[in-house]
Symmetry: C2
Subunit: 221 residues, 2 copies
């Protein structure tokens, strides 16, 4: 069931995040050979109320069976269709540094239906080279390559300097979503989206936590 | 000022997250050669109220100067001391797959004061080898290596199966914090912490967003 009707268009971001959590848990259950699960059990596993779970899923039709519960594999597949990970989408990566190269070789993107189709960098030593099977283009070619390869998503792993300009150019060229690994605040117009993965902030939080001397460790020792 | 007194111990996680954001913005400002900034300007840049900013910073002493504002570099340095990124901390990495190897070569950890001191895997082909300068140990050695190298933080990039057991063993061996890249819910006792970086969930959200046909793109076109 593809989200083509008006009702599906109105799914909130919070719903999408929860759907993603449901799907992951369903995948785990599928791996453990669980075939059916009742809504209250699944709700408990993911930490939402059964009412919330049923509301989220009701928008997309029915997967329920009163006696046996939800069909685990079928529901997982349908959620993938809803969130769009059942078909390959092209992604561009800006900034072929350490993290950029790491992500180019990270298979998790492909597993989720994302193919990094092109990489971009400003460094003349990198431009024209192939990294993990992907060609590195000069940043000046951003608009052309986005159009040629139909790229709706950019992964940002470049330096913070000039990054907003890259985003603005991407938006003008038709990019809708940005996955930003750079510790820099970015702005996009309405209808475009930035998701921030802030490894530094997580590390700093852990750093602080791991230095606390007075944590309660009774349970752990 | 190191967070050794009672008052500092009580800093909330939300404060730490905000401190991390302030520090990052101060670093950006420092790079742009800004020497001083008024609290209301900094608050506006990071999107908090001036009252919130002053409250967060007041817990750690005074950096203010009524006429010139905060000293950008000094404040950035002091926040680093508070959150503990001013000295090297040892980190262990569990799971030398694609993402694990990527993170081993990611210099962002070192830049934030984290040194991945050891990697662990169950694969006999990987055990004993050196990846990006770090030795890969058998997972059975987890407790010994954690104790020998004084590792308070584990980065998790292994398969979801058996991961909770690894966490439980880490906790017993003295690990306080876990940076979890694996799409799996983990539980830790009070006083220990898990930070989740969920690349899959972010990708799925972007996937959904990038498929929305009816976004408002007026501003972008």
């Amino acid at each position: 069931m593809a989200p083509t009707d008006k009702r599906d268009q109105k799914v909130s971001l919070h719903t999408v995040e929860r759907l993603s959590v449901y799907r992951r848990k369903l995948e785990e259950l599928g791996t453990d050979d669980v075939e059916y699960i009742h809504s209250h059990e699944l709700a408990a596993l993911v930490g939402v109320t059964p009412a919330q779970l049923r509301r989220d899923l009701a928008s997309f039709g029915s997967y329920g069976n009163i006696s046996r519960g939800y069909d685990v594999r079928r529901m997982s597949r349908t959620i993938s269709q809803i969130i769009g990970t059942d078909h390959i989408q092209h992604v561009g990566l800006v900034g072929v540094g350490d993290l950029g190269r790491a992500l180019l070789s990270y298979r998790g993107f492909e597993e989720r239906g994302f193919h990094i189709a092109a990489a971009f960098d400003v460094d003349p030593d990198k431009v024209g080279r192939v990294f993990a099977g992907r060609r590195c283009y000069a940043l000046e070619k951003l608009e052309t390559v986005i159009a040629d390869l139909q790229i709706p998503i950019l992964v940002l792993t470049a330096r913070p300097e000039g990054l907003q300009e890259v985003v603005d150019r991407g938006v003008k060229a038709g990019v809708r979503s940005f996955l930003n690994f750079v510790p820099k605040t970015l702005t996009v117009p309405d209808g475009c989206f930035v998701e921030h993965i802030d490894i530094s902030a997580k590390l700093e939080k852990l750093s602080f936590l791991s230095r606390q001397d007075e944590c309660q460790m009774e349970t752990a020792i």
